[in-house]
């Protein structure tokens, strides 16, 4: 999944000479919290609703008036993303730098914006949790070939797999979370157990007497 698949495009942008009051009103109107600042088509900064509130707050020593200019408050030389960047790289960068958005550039032109909320949406899409589905969780020994054994088991069944996520668990094992687009996940869990997979989720039902 790439940035272009999840970004908001086109991005709403403002000029550096705009007043803080107008910038805030713009955010309220559009229901957004981040605005790239463009000077004659060139990206010169990013301003957030938090920047605006803080700049005009009595918490700071010399607060600006609402007629102050965006250029006085914005964060200049912002970090950016490219439309073709993988989503996980962008998430990593935003997390490292503790920032809430990245303007998306293509050939020096602003073409969109990606925010933390877009990344949450990406997580929902990647896990397939936004489609009717059932969840399975399997513990695999951390050996080469184990994930392949699982996927080849699945490929022999006519199944609609929405997603497979794998993450390490301690030193010796990994957990694999599957979302299957089927109401019949219990039968699948039983077959996996019979094939010696350790199915953690769903739990095993006590047998009828």
């Amino acid at each position: 999944m790439l940035v272009r698949d999840i970004m908001s495009s086109p991005a709403v942008s403002i000029p550096p000479a705009m007043t803080l009051e107008d910038a805030y009103r713009m955010m309220q109107q559009k229901g957004i919290r981040h605005l790239p600042v463009l000077d004659e088509g060139r990206l010169v900064g990013v301003i957030t609703d938090r920047d605006l509130r803080l700049a005009t707050s009595t918490f700071v020593r010399s607060p600006l008036s609402l007629q102050g200019r965006v250029s006085e408050v914005m964060c200049g030389e912002p970090m950016t993303a490219e439309a073709g960047d993988p989503v996980e790289d962008v998430a990593f960068r935003m997390r490292e730098r503790k920032i809430g958005c990245l303007p998306v550039m293509d050939d020096g032109q602003l073409i969109g914006i990606v925010t933390g909320v877009d990344l949450l949406d990406a997580l929902l899409r990647m896990t397939g949790v936004n489609k009717p589905s059932g969840r399975l969780e399997v513990r695999l020994p951390d050996h080469p070939g184990e994930l392949a054994r699982l996927t080849s088991f699945l490929s022999h069944r006519n199944l609609n797999v929405h997603s497979i996520l794998t993450y390490p668990e301690g030193r010796d094992s990994t957990r694999t979370v599957l979302r299957i687009g089927s109401i019949e996940t219990r039968a699948l869990a039983n077959d996996l157990r019979r094939a010696d997979f350790e199915v953690l989720w769903p739990p095993e039902k006590p047998c009828p007497r």
Partner: protein, 377 residues
């Protein structure tokens, strides 16, 4: 006299012999009632029209179902949930699904036009069907279509869904409708298909606070189920004051069901049905429309639905089941055919953390009521 709606054409809603959603389930139930000496008198509906279906589903979805139904090719059918392992394509599927919708609609008409009180539609309950997506064995949403018909005639509807799976299609289609309250009891979406049905899904717009979900812990037993049922349903009905109840009476919360993990026994179903009939008397002048639903253990589903039939007719419940019925279906059941209407007690191995499960369910119901009642007063 209660009305029972059925048509032999319901049997055509069949995804193939190996598929869980089998029309045999109703055959076995009807045969049980007949073997017990009851003459089951049924009313035959008409199939729903294309126009009826379009009240809920979009034209481009219906066109795809029709094409597949007639043996045509629809390259993007999987995008619409059609031709998947859960919802395989079969010839005549459009008409078969319209028959089930027609039955639910007929039930709605009997209540509105003929003043019927208790109506049992012996099929349908296809609560997973979304506007444009077939899902979980459901092609057309008979429930939403019948509910819309009722609200269109001025009867506000409280929809109660006791199928073990979340009634996501009905909820989604009617999410902002202030004339419909939906209450779904199901195994938590964290564990079970379709994954939704959390307590924060409360409806939108004018329907906010009217869509209620009680996600239950796996291995929930009858005692805890009934406790939260009593906690939530009467309070909600008292608030909403519906004109009619529509009940999806899926039997897949039974402990023997192979698709899910709740642990209800037939005695719990008896208690649930008695409560619903009592609440219908109390809140809707007795008006209640039942459909069937999920239920994938043949022997459990047949007994649960026979129970429902007997209770709505105020007939006495038998203890033992006829030998002729048991032997006729013994090859179909996995394991011994049941000797009695009710499950043995206990019917399953002991659940180790029963107290913890009950505690969590109690908390969920409490939080749900807190969140929903915020919109009630």
């Amino acid at each position: 006299m209660p009305s029972v709606i059925y048509h032999p054409a319901y049997r055509n809603y069949s995804f193939g012999e190996q598929h869980s959603f089998s029309p045999l389930r109703v055959d076995i139930m009807l045969d049980l009632l007949e073997s017990l000496g009851h003459r089951v008198e049924t009313i035959e509906p008409e199939p729903a029209t294309r126009q009826d279906i379009l009240g809920v589903h979009s034209d481009y979805y219906v066109r795809r179902v029709e094409t597949l139904s007639a043996g045509g090719d629809v390259p993007d059918c999987a995008d619409y949930g059609l031709g998947t392992p859960d919802n395989p394509i079969f010839p005549g599927m459009d008409e078969a699904a319209r028959w089930l919708v027609g039955g639910a609609l007929h039930g709605a008409r009997l209540i509105w036009e003929k003043g019927e009180k208790r109506v049992l539609q012996l099929g349908g309950g296809l609560h997973h069907a979304l506007r444009n997506i077939a899902s979980g064995f459901c092609i057309y949403n008979d429930l939403a279509i019948a509910i819309n018909w009722l609200t269109g005639h001025g009867l506000w509807v409280a929809y109660i869904d006791i199928d073990v799976h979340h009634g996501d299609g009905v909820q989604q289609i009617l999410y902002d409708d202030k004339r419909v309250m939906t209450i779904s009891f199901h195994e938590s979406g964290q564990y079970l298909f379709p994954g939704t049905g959390e307590i924060h899904e409360l409806g939108s717009g004018a329907g906010r606070g009217l869509k209620l979900n009680v996600p239950l812990e796996p291995f929930t037993e009858g005692e805890s189920y009934l406790e939260v049922f009593d906690q939530v349903v009467p309070a909600a009905l008292r608030q909403f004051r519906p004109g009619v109840l529509v009940v999806q009476a899926g039997a897949d919360a039974h402990f023997a069901d192979p698709l899910a993990d709740l642990m209800l026994a037939t005695r719990d179903y008896e208690a649930i049905f008695r409560r619903i009939l009592g609440w219908a008397d109390e809140f809707t002048a007795g008006r209640v429309l039942f459909t069937l639903g999920g239920g994938y253990s043949f022997s459990a589903a047949a007994r649960v639905w026979a129970l429902l039939y007997l209770l709505i007719h105020d007939l006495p419940l038998p203890t033992d089941l006829p030998e002729v019925w048991r032997s006729r279906w013994s090859r179909i059941f996995d394991g011994q055919p049941p000797a009695a209407l009710h499950d043995p007690n206990p019917g399953h191995a002991e659940i180790p953390n029963r107290e913890e499960i009950a505690h969590r369910n109690r908390q969920v119901a409490k939080r749900l009521l807190e969140a929903a009642s915020h919109y009630w007063f």
